[in-house]
Amino acid sequence: MRKTTLIALLTLLTACSQAPETITEFDASSLIQGELSAQSYVKAATTLVDAASQAVSSAELSEKELNQHIAKVEAMLQLARDLEQENPYRAELLSTLGSMYAKKSVFYSNNAKQAGSLAAKGFRYLDKAVSGYPNNITARINRGIVSARVPEFLNKTNVAISDLSFVVNNPDFSALSQPLQQSIHGMLAELNTRVKHEF
């Protein structure tokens, strides 16, 4: 009897929609080592993007951790805006931020509106990165992978194929790590099969 009650309670709880967890602000200057310059900014941004990318691909990532990464990347972008400097790492930061918002939607699978809103926000950042920096391979990889992974009803298959094909045909593709190269080839093959099945 207790077991049944517990199961019923859990079912009810999962059915209830969740409120979005808030993202607290972060001081980006604490990430910069030494004097703030274009070089130190890029160094800090690279570290940040690498850490965020690893976190996004981790299966054990919690929403709280993801929010912390989002706050850091947003703060980094804000820092460049505040300084009115040309941001040399903007495409990478924007597209990583987009990937993280899209990833965040996974935590709201029982709240379609919230999940859709987060995915849309994610794609807005990803689109912004690709629109502003169409030849940036990181932006294309991020948007391609997110587009390939979202549910089919979001109609992102063509965007995924376009971005991942661009990446594969890019001269810098060979410089990517072997697992990433294989993963991209695998995704492209799967996407092409999906398109063939649609027709």
Partner: protein
């Protein structure tokens, strides 16, 4: 003490006829589950269409110049200064998330030797992206103010023109003074609004570019996106007052603008009403049958209870409560089973076929709000009570002498 005895008697009677009661319970359970699932599906569909309407182009409210009458799209302009004032007044309301300026115009778009008549929206790119969350960018990128000449083109329109992302199209329209003007636009991306017919005739440009081609800083409408978590019963009046206090502009809610939503709701309410009536009849018949049989089989026993001094009302209550105990138990199990099944369906992400006229398939989801859960419970309980009324009445009217001789 007496009521405990009667309660015990009721439970023992229910357990004694467990086979018959189980059959009735299964009918009630299936009925409850069906009503939860179908009700939840319909509720989710209403919510989906509502959100789809709001987040594809309508927003929660739109403000137009009054001279446009009831038409959705108008060439009546709102003065730029007035539009700023209205935006500022609305932005002070806590429930208003954003206010964006828009120009809706008609014109021609040409590529090579092909020209197509279209509906064009001039929008503030970042704000419009929040209002257009339901519009999918299926190729290229969204619209950004950093690329003022960029344009989002309906997917089917882009195919019809034979153009692709990056191509330059010519947009031709009439200026605010009625003259003809044309500009070049660059295809930033292809969009899917969800409606094939709209995709064939729809483009979006940056507001600044649209104002350039129209030779005007005015707008045709303001679109308001509300924060639904902060909306109260007074919000609608407050939003309307904020506009009418400083202007004679016309405020329309998404509900007033979306006839399609109301048509669909009416149609599905009729279908749901019919299905609910069928389920209720089945539940009524199951309880009626089980309890009538029970009473018929227990004539001697009920007469004996009467002979021992129990009143007619006590017998009526006892038999009715037996039916209600079976009903309530089945409803509770039905609710839990319905909730469990609904969660399972939501988790399974089952893709539904694309509806006619639409371009989106959508995942099958069951919305579990209080209406969806309470309504089936109340209706089935009502059917159970009514179904048990006649057998209970029959039981209490049994003549003691005759009945005891059987």
């Amino acid at each position: 003490m007496y009521s405990i005895f009667i309660s015990k008697l009721i439970f023992l009677n229910v357990l004694r006829d467990w086979r018959k009661n189980l059959i009735a319970s299964i009918a009630i359970l299936i009925g409850t589950v069906s009503l939860i699932l179908f009700g939840g599906y319909v509720a989710q569909m209403y919510e989906g269409i509502r959100l789809g309407s709001i987040y594809s182009q309508l927003g929660h409210y739109q403000i137009h110049a009054q001279s446009k009458g009831d038409e959705v799209y108008s060439k009546s302009f709102i003065n730029a200064h007035l539009a700023e004032n209205v935006e500022s007044a609305l932005s002070q309301l806590p429930e208003v998330k954003l206010v964006t300026h828009r120009i809706e115009a008609q014109g021609l778009v040409s590529f090579g030797d092909k020209s197509v008549g279209i509906l064009a929206f001039g929008v503030e790119a970042d704000k419009d992206a929040e209002i257009s969350e339901a519009v999918a960018i299926v190729e290229g990128t969204g619209l950004f103010a950093e690329q003022p000449e960029g344009a989002l083109i309906g997917r089917e329109l882009l195919q019809e023109l034979g153009a692709s992302v990056g191509d330059v199209l010519t947009f031709l329209t009439t200026t605010s003074d009625g003259a003809i003007n044309a500009i070049d636009i660059v295809v930033a991306g292809a969009m899917d609004t969800g409606a094939k017919e709209l995709n064939k005739r729809f483009i979006k440009l940056n507001l600044s570019l649209m104002q350039d081609v129209l030779y005007s800083d005015d707008v045709t409408n303001l679109v308001v996106l509300a924060d639904e978590s902060k909306m109260t019963d007074q919000s609608d009046a407050r939003i309307r007052e904020a506009v009418t206090d400083i202007s004679n502009l016309d405020v329309k809610s998404w509900s007033q603008m979306s006839d399609q939503y109301h048509q669909i709701v009416t149609m599905f309410n009729n279908i749901f009403g019919f299905v609910t009536a069928l389920v209720i009849i089945i539940i009524f018949a199951a309880i009626f049958n089980t309890m009538t049989m029970g009473v018929m089989e227990r004539v001697s026993e009920l007469s004996t209870i009467r002979a021992l001094g129990a009143g007619r009302n006590e017998i009526l209550l006892m038999v009715m409560l037996e039916g209600l105990v079976v009903g309530i138990a089945a409803i509770v199990v039905g609710l839990l089973a319905g909730l469990g099944l609904a969660s399972l369906i939501n988790y399974a992400n089952i893709a539904m076929p694309t509806p006619p006229g639409s371009t989106f398939s959508y995942p099958l989801r069951i919305l579990l709000d209080s209406n969806v859960i309470v309504m089936p419970a109340v209706l089935t309980l009502f059917a159970t009570a009514v179904g048990g009324l006649f057998p209970a009445y029959k039981a209490c009217r049994l003549p003691i002498n005759e009945a005891m001789q059987r």
